[in-house]
Amino acid sequence: MNGLTLDIFLLAMMTAAAVWTVMRGSLLRAVIALALTSIALTAVMFRLKAPIAAVFELSVCAGLITVVFMSTIALTKPLTHKETLDYTKTRMKRFWLLPVIMALLGSALLYFTIPMDFNLAAPLETAKNFRNILWEERQFDLIGQILVILAGIFGVVVLFKERSKDEPQD
């Protein structure tokens, strides 16, 4: 029984972290909150018996993406402390609605019994391990991944390159 309560706790943690990322005033803390969400997600995925994916998620999302965001923030001129203070006040005017909507939606979903008429697919007998699925069945996706990575490299090369002096400043 405690498994379910654990799930509830982890999911609640993840949702709270997500809301925190959205509501948080300063950008830096928002990125940290995002990393927290990612960590919570990893925990949930462990619960859902998807360990490899969880580790991958943790290392890439929590790690790499946070780094990307940090560097972008570093490259851009962050607001001074005072500016962030009065900025957060004005922000609040726009964001107070989110928790209200979420509370309403949560209670509505809890209250109404959603018809679960569909039946889930029967579980496979041969418990294939992760490796051969990825390589035998999903080769096409692998090729896709290679393509995406190549495109990503070009993207980074084109976009992040400092503008060299002779380039026309249009």
Binding site: P115, D117, F118, L120, A121, A122, P123, L124, E136, E137, R138, Q139, F140, D141, I143, G144, Q145, I146, L147, V148, L150, A151, G152, F154, G155, V157, V158, L159, R163, E167, D170
Partner: protein
């Protein structure tokens, strides 16, 4: 067939960008042209058995031998990439930027081939993302203010579409345990609500990527702000393959031509046909008018699909192909005009046809074909769509299609008058005809348009009739 379309481009890109020596980078352009021509040839000429390797080492399960519509799309991808590369290569100034452009175009082409060939929902998503990512970068390549804004808007909309598509895939996975089309179709046949929700979400995602009426926000900005070569590529084939072709594929392989699906397609097709046509009527910028015109013409295709009878599907497929040809043609003309006069503001342009005869003439061919004037190809495809709608009983939609056609003629004629006829302004008196890299694709495309129109029975019988099979799948 599938081997050459996806893997060879990857190898090409890797070889082209090996770390040592700059010499290789300039080869990107000829490699791209070769791949495009190879691809078109594959479809047109029966050279299937030339390749000695026989069965592709990758398991057939993943690769779907392309159906009739797939072949048609591969052909139009080849033609459009060929023209886009020619124009884009000529227009981008710095050599390093040139090779990036060519490489990204090759990657996107591979992505599109992947989309056409993909056999299941998730790989469809993967290749959609590949094309999307390379398009983001291509649009933002010039790094000027509009290009970045257009690219960011495209990124946001495409991300939302991806989210919807992924959630739909996860629901299908939950219901059927696999991501293949047939499994999803089976779940849908049982008609439980979750499956209907999933297919709905997937269709919405694809409508966003296809730039259909209410979801079309990003399209005009992305097309207009992109550099000339990229906007040819985007307008010519990207939106068609990632958006419209995928809808046809999804509806044919997964949801089937059921009542609600047809109703959705007809309604949103009609809305975008009308909205696109009217918005294009009041435009100042040449490329922006063509962008809205694309939305309108894609609305036609979706309506043809929504008719749900063989005539409709054939009409939609043929119009998709025709539109790829004459829209690319118009964008090539706009690139030529931009190259020569430096501006795209139609109010300042005028009387260019005597200085740029080829561009003027080919633009007239494309304009007449878009408006559906016989004997050009556009006429036949529009005729098929309208007749299909009338035969299927959707008389109001047929009338809307005809009315949108009239408005199309209106704005295209006004464009032609404002840009090519009338009197030339002083500042452009010394311009001359655009270079061969503009005139060659322009002439090639208009010959295809005229040929497809004049030899319609032959083209129809060989390429279009097999598309009917799509209807029989479910």
């Amino acid at each position: 067939m599938s081997w050459t379309l996806v893997v060879v481009p990857i190898i090409a890109v890797i070889l082209l960008n090996l770390p040592f020596g700059e010499g290789y980078r300039k080869l990107a352009f000829p490699a791209g042209i070769f791949l495009a021509v190879l691809q078109s040839a594959l479809v047109l000429l029966p050279i299937e058995n030339m390749f000695p390797y026989g069965a592709c080492p990758l398991s057939p399960f993943v690769f779907l031998s392309p159906d009739a519509l797939g072949l048609l799309m591969i052909l139009s991808v080849g033609i459009v990439v060929f023209s886009a590369l020619l124009v884009g290569w000529r227009m981008t100034d710095k050599t390093s930027r040139k090779s990036d452009f060519a490489n990204l175009i090759i990657l996107a082409m591979a992505g599109m081939n992947g989309v056409i060939l993909s056999g299941d929902l998730f790989s469809l998503y993967v290749f959609l993302e590949i094309v999307a990512v390379s398009s983001f970068i291509l649009i933002a390549m010039d790094k000027n203010r509009e290009a970045l804004e257009g690219s960011f808007k495209y990124i946001m909309l495409s991300a939302v579409a991806t989210i919807l598509i992924l959630s739909s895939i996860s629901v299908f996975l939950m219901l059927t345990g696999s991501t293949s089309f047939s499994a999803a179709a089976a779940a849908l046949k049982q008609g439980n609500h979750a499956a209907v929700l999933a297919s709905g979400l997937f269709i919405i995602g694809l409508l966003i990527k296809g730039g259909i009426a209410p979801f079309h926000g990003w399209l005009p900005d992305a097309y207009t702000s992109a550099p000339a070569g990229v906007s040819i590529f985007l307008a010519g084939i990207v939106t068609k393959t990632t958006g419209i072709y995928t809808i046809i594929k999804l509806v044919s392989y997964v949801t089937g031509y059921t009542g609600p699906v047809k109703e959705i397609l007809l309604f949103f097709g009609a809305v975008s046909a009308l909205l696109g046509a009217f918005a294009a009527l009041d435009q100042k910028n040449f490329k922006r008018m063509l962008a809205y015109s694309s939305i309108s013409q894609m609305g036609y295709v979706i309506m043809g699909l929504g008719a749900g009878n063989p005539l409709g599907v054939m009409g939609a497929a043929f119009h998709l192909f025709n539109h790829a040809i004459f829209k690319t043609q118009l964008f090539v003309n706009s690139a030529a005009v931009e190259q020569e006069t430096g501006t795209l503001n139609m109010d300042r342009l005028g009387g260019l046809s005597d200085k740029m005869p080829v561009t003027g003439a080919t633009s007239v061919v494309a304009l007449l074909s878009t408006a559906g004037v016989p004997p050009l190809s556009g006429f036949w495809s529009k005729l098929l769509v309208i007749v299909a709608l009338w035969v299927a009983g959707y008389k109001i939609y047929a009338l809307i299609a005809v009315f949108a056609g009239v408005v199309t003629l209106a704005y295209l004629l006004s464009m032609q008058r404002r840009v090519f006829f009338g009197n030339i302004s002083a500042s452009f008196s010394n311009i001359k005809e655009a270079g061969v890299s503009f005139t060659l694709p322009a002439v090639l495309l208009s010959t295809i348009t005229i040929a497809a129109g004049v030899f319609f029975p032959y083209v129809f019988e060989k390429l279009i009739i097999p598309v009917q099979a799509l209807l029989g799948l479910l």
